[in-house]
Amino acid sequence: MAKELLKGNVAFAEAAVRYGLEAYFGYPITPQSEALEHLSGRMVELGRVFLQAESEVAAVNMVYGAASAGVRVMTSTSGPGFALMAEGLSYIAGSEVPAVFVNMMRGGPGLGNIQPSQADYFFMTKTAGHGDFHPLVLAPASIQELIDMMGLAFELAEKYRTLVYIAGDGSLGQMMESAELPPMQPLREKRPDWAVIGCEGRDPNIITSLYLGAKNLEAVNIRLQKKLAEIKQNETRWKEYETEDAEILLVAYGTVGRICTSVVRESRKQGLKIGLLRPQTLWPFPDTRIRELAAQVKAILVSEMSAGQMLEDVERTAQGQCPVKFYGRLGGVVPLTDEILSETRKLVREVA
């Protein structure tokens, strides 16, 4: 496949189709509506299911239903819509069915605006929904990574029977970039053996999140926690840039993560020993590696399009081994290379 110029929202939608998406239920919201627009034509053309629900509350429950039948299913939305889905997310987590959610984050709180933001970090990683659970959260920084992560999202969701979120932002959805789509893959022929699809000739499968009796539910929770520990063990992902000899470590994800690669490039030209760790999974978080690097560097600078949410995970992880500073922009403003560079230089002087 050759490289094409692809818009983020169209790229993830088409990638999902090619990775064998069987059903999509959603409700339009800027800045991700192009995904619905694309799928409304494409899915129908392929004889698959596309349904624009009456609301996000309906959409998430349709996703829950399709997932329970072992159908490869997803939805996509942005902050306010994702918030409406919270109840369903918890039910899906409790029922242990695989489902993929894309959130192209926009400025909040409330209706906020439609500009890029990363202020849903807490909401996405610290469980949007009641009860003890974590979704697996992937954080792409380019359109190629967004495409690749769609495939990974389905794979991990089905492998662990878990919720997978893709944490994008408005700029990733709206920008166009050169990227390569995967070849078209055939749809799965067989439903998973736990799916509820009619049980003639066998015992019924049961999918539920209701366990009356505390001991019962505790056992379920212990099993869920064991699964989360396994995910943490196997699926933590990150990228490092120039960390070997770094004296200052930048930690940033998604759009800000890629902006920080420019910061590293510029600062290296100026002879500053700056490195970057870019988490590709926000949950599980690259704890162990950041802890190691915190022992190596003089200071860490976290940058986000938020008031400092991932910051708390970096602080927790660094365990006081070095100072952890923060630079963020709010309300849909994207921090630019020069701003982060000047914060980095300030920090270099502070720790010299």
Binding site: Q174, M175, I259, T261, V263, L336
Partner: protein, 178 residues
Amino acid sequence: MKHEETIISGFGGQGALFAGQLLAYAGIAETLYVTWIPSYGPEMRGGTANCTVILSEEEIGAPIIQNPTAAIVLNLPSMEKYEPLVKPGGLLIVNQSLIPVESTRQDIRVITIPATDIATELGNPRMANLVLLGAFIQATGLISMESLESELGKHISERHRKWLEPNKEALHKGAEFA
């Protein structure tokens, strides 16, 4: 190393976003890394529209920038906004037909073209975007005229196909000014 960070800006309808996309398509045809990002938001008819296009031989970090290495400005508000932001040593391409002021920058190259007038002579004032784009690629040597023409043929919409040849001519007319 080829690396150009360009902002193209004008009124909605002047084709700033399309000119940027065309540049991006041609960049891919020449195997460069490419990003294109529009300003987006609640817009109104006649409001400004701009995009940032980066073409590079190396993988692109920040897709959003404060100081472009080049700016193509189609109207006065765009001139007022981006003229001061172009990096020293950079390039500014001005649509003289709609911008009655001259640049005061001494540290950048300024190319002034009566683009809307030229486009009108060619049959449609809305081709001013390609007059300016023609000057841009001639001045920077970033990509070839052939790639641009070939991508224009692929991406011009059906209803505008009759304007393909005049658009190509617009590119060449612009190139003469660089």
